[in-house]
Symmetry: C2
Amino acid sequence: MQGSFSLRVDSSVVSLIVQKYGGSSVADAASIKRVARRIVDTKKAGHDVVVVVSAMGDSTDELLDLAEQVSPLPPARELDMLLTAGERISMALLAMAISDLGAEARSYTGSQAGLITDSAHGAARIIDVTPGRIRSALEEGAIPIVAGFQGVAHDTKDITTLGRGGSDTTAVALAAALDASVCEIYTDVDGVFSADPRVVPAARQVPFITYEEMLELAAVGAKVLHLRCVEYARRFDMPIHVRSSFSQREGTFVMSPQAIATAIDEGRAMEQPIISGVAADVNDAKITVVGVADKPGQAAAIFKALAGAGINVDMIVQNVSAASTGRTDVTFTCPQGSATPAMKALDSQREAIGFESLRVDDQIAKVSLVGAGMRSHPGVSATFFEALADASINVEMISTSEIRISVVTRVDDAQRAVRALHTAFGLDADGEAVVYGGSGR
Amino acid sequence: MQGSFSLRVDSSVVSLIVQKYGGSSVADAASIKRVARRIVDTKKAGHDVVVVVSAMGDSTDELLDLAEQVSPLPPARELDMLLTAGERISMALLAMAISDLGAEARSYTGSQAGLITDSAHGAARIIDVTPGRIRSALEEGAIPIVAGFQGVAHDTKDITTLGRGGSDTTAVALAAALDASVCEIYTDVDGVFSADPRVVPAARQVPFITYEEMLELAAVGAKVLHLRCVEYARRFDMPIHVRSSFSQREGTFVMSPQAIATAIDEGRAMEQPIISGVAADVNDAKITVVGVADKPGQAAAIFKALAGAGINVDMIVQNVSAASTGRTDVTFTCPQGSATPAMKALDSQREAIGFESLRVDDQIAKVSLVGAGMRSHPGVSATFFEALADASINVEMISTSEIRISVVTRVDDAQRAVRALHTAFGLDADGEAVVYGGSGR
């Protein structure tokens, strides 16, 4: 793929494009017809097309409501069987709408399309993709419509779902298995932005972003693409084109640094900016373990207890020990939903760890700056902290990667922090971004 | 099966019961919970249970509405994919409700349950049943819940639906393949009645009826069981127990004459009555081909043209030729929906057949009397026509089988005819029958 990828696909060669449409793009009959037209236009332009589709609008929530009415704790296997009815409906309707436009479309369940997973119902991982039926359909000139979000377990042969962001992952996995030239992810925004346009009206759409930057952004709260789908794309070097199904504008290409460099060399892109975006995540909590004995192995005991309870710990800070007491405080962040289990896990090990008390604080935000250019441009940190200081925003914790700086602030300061950083790094655009609302799965 | 079948199943031996619940029995969460309780009670009574379930209430109509919104003429393959989402939802919910009662249930699509069909989308025929996964689930003590109405095509591997009465056929086919002791079909009436209780309030519930009688009744308009399901049961000698999911009463057993004779011998049933029931079908039309040349081969030309257009012809009458003209009239009945295509098919062959004109009449009813006892009791015909004459009902056409007499009357006379026959053959009961309304698929 690498090197041979071209943004302007050569129209003399038939290329394969995988298109994924989220729930908001197929929310009702009118939307389905609009998407069908778009798919048929792509086919008429000379491309082979494989479509991945999510369940219609709110239908997943309606199915979950039904489940709740019959059982407070439904078995995960049956919940997957139930939820996969959602894509079955949307994909059949989309195939009908395409047929109505004179093209041939055939819908396939995840199982029929060869999405083989493990048997972790509700959060299954793809372990193989065997799209024999999809290839046959393409050879016969048809447009395959594949149910997103679902697969079949390799051992039990039961129906599985992939969990959050599952349809995007289905699309990228199919694109990789079919050696597509690009995987287009249609959503209700125009692409990836330098910040959330609802927070920063002057946020710019980013034309190119590397897999690494996108992973960092996804990890720190940007909602456009799910972490797993970007990981999958990076592993197989499958370019993703994130764009809106409500407009014809080009969106954001997520691809390798080499592919972006080629695009820049060929004059199809401007110089890659130092900073790609600013994001805030308000879904974390901060837990402080107070009065830990300042001796070797105590931190290990804390994080072993947390790992045993399946808690994903993000940022960690250990205070300097007060010489008078020989004790220190250890502070870490984790998702808000994990705060209670984390407290329980630590409390059950209070004797072994040897701490005085626990403090939890969910009024925090994690504000992050992401950009591959940080590697080669010194002074980014200085600008970062100067901007926050000028805005009188207090920094409680700091963590960095090669291409990211994250800080914890009060949650009430988060939006001001994002705006201050966006301006300080020259990301503000002239016009305002457009947001359509809603979200798919 | 034959001979070993016992109505009161021996509770010291684990027997397998297949239970089928129609759409009205699983119309909402409360109904699903009620049915779940009934299934768990059967399991607790010591039986193995396999459940076949239809889509919830009106959900099939809602899916058809959606299809109509995106395409006036959706491809049959995609319509099947769409409609099978209905059972997927009901079966998963039913499995959840059963789990909630502490029993283990696992839902299976038609494909997973081994319902192998031809590829006639919308009206597929079962060509094999390979219920390996259902057997394994039973061996592990689970209750398998199977989607009715659907299967998978043996050649294309596409999802198919069985058409009208499909879920009943699924249940009987699975019961036969698993060598079940009985197939219980739960519906919204108490069983098979001697006449439609809405027409004849004194209609009696029939405790036993042979496959042959049930086939004749199904063919002449009785709606309780579909023709295909009874044909399947007769072929495999699988006893069907038609009963209400709204009460605990025993319903009607549909089985072989031998099994009924055994039940009578053992004192578990009264003498089999001569007549099982009276039915009226108001969905036929009568077409008259006027002025056909009275020479050999003309009738053949008519029915060849109709067969070529796929028209199912039912009753046929050829008038005596008028000596003066050398021409005759040929009259036949067919479903009202086939009347227009039948007229077109005949008109296109007007030259070849050589007739003067066509007359269509949809204001007719077919009134039928069914009873295996007719074979051995002379005088049934005399009583039949005397009763209609006494009620001043004009008979337009007559057709008979070994165990059935059918006549065509004016549609307005149909209900009076049914009541007159019901009384004349001593079928009136003391109390009135109970009807619950609604219908499944």
